[in-house]
Point group: C2
Chain length 220, copies 2
């Protein structure tokens, strides 16, 4: 069984490496928007290929470990959670690319307004990504629960941002297309936070064997 344990450890490391890449992609995507930094935006686009390759590699490893061993209980939950977390991470990478596409379009135009809530939302989403993965690695249910709690704050920020930008569009039609891009950036951040929430739910399932999906609201 020694070999199996080493392979599980390898899987955990690969997921962490992928999470690091995804975290960086999210961070860089918003920073490229804030600082109108085309080079940084390009870096996100280039890194996406690596994230996609890692997804396939991790998927293969987790599936192989399911096939060649007969993992029970905790290890089985870990492996099926790894498959899901892997999927969530890859989608977050896609969402960072979506943000970069908006950022590149916005860079070519004058700013609508100084951005305050979007970087705040990005910071929150990034910390949710980091904490969800940390909770997975450390099997820390408390930390996973804290991620679930942040989700409401993200939704509030999304609403604040939409409301403000709709106001801009209504008062000055010349801002419509740029303000819409910013609203779409905030929606992408919201979805990144949603994926972090999914991961935290999977962690609670692995650690406690408790399925909190669709009940997170009541529990917290």
């Amino acid at each position: 069984m020694r070999h199996f344990i080493e392979e599980l450890e390898d899987l955990r490391k690969q997921l962490l490496e992928m999470a690091g890449l995804v975290e960086l992609a999210v961070h860089d995507s918003v920073l490229s928007l804030m600082e109108r930094d085309q080079e940084r935006a390009q870096r996100v686009l280039v890194n996406e290929a690596r994230i996609n390759q890692m997804e396939i590699r991790i998927d293969e490893l987790a599936t192989r470990l399911l096939a060649l061993n007969q993992p029970m209980a905790r290890d089985l939950r870990f492996l099926t959670a790894a498959l899901k977390i892997n999927n969530d991470l890859e989608r977050m990478g896609d969402l960072a690319v979506n943000i970069v596409e908006r950022a590149l379009s916005l860079m070519a135009q004058p700013p609508v307004k100084p951005l305050i809530d979007i970087p705040r939302m990005a910071q929150l989403a990034e910390s949710m990504v980091r904490n969800s993965l940390d909770s997975f690695v450390k099997r820390d249910a408390e930390l996973a629960r804290s991620v679930l709690l942040s989700d409401d704050a993200v939704d509030d920020l999304r609403d604040t941002i939409s409301k403000e930008l709709v106001g801009f569009m209504e008062r000055d039609p010349s801002t419509v297309s740029r303000a819409l891009d910013l609203i779409l950036v905030s929606r992408n951040l919201e979805r990144i936070a949603d994926h972090a929430t999914n991961i935290a739910e999977d962690v609670l399932f692995v650690v406690q064997g408790v399925d909190v999906r669709h009940h997170a609201e009541e529990h917290d």
Copy 2:
């Protein structure tokens, strides 16, 4: 092994039943928008609880089959694909709820314009959901590939819809908030189509053992 085969069959049936619920939810969400039908909208909200329960049940069944048997090759691919497809279906259910929320808000206000491209996009997305699940049940690689081909048409419709609605917002600021709701509906439909594409990719993996993720563009 007879028992295992029966349980696999049961899993397949449950996934199909869930897919039927999700298809109906997508269909009803757009119809409630088109016909300003509040009752139909409510039905989608009520059905979401059933979809969520099915997700948990299917997840448990697939995980148990992975645990209690030692499925190899094709069955293993089927079971890990079932976990992913289940997840995609549940998210589609969430997206139908998002559409209903926009529909309920829009019902209370005068229409911006007659809707033409949104129902077209919905029809395309629905057929992608149906075909991706049919391809899974029939192990039909040809049908799965046809789903991948539809994705570009969905993206084109999304762009057409956005462009037209941005025009409305720029010409008449009183339409901003309603037009934004319609743009968000089209984004939700786009994501539903994306999930159908994910399912079709999983089917190709199950049937052919070929991983087409991140290469769909080149192949088609």
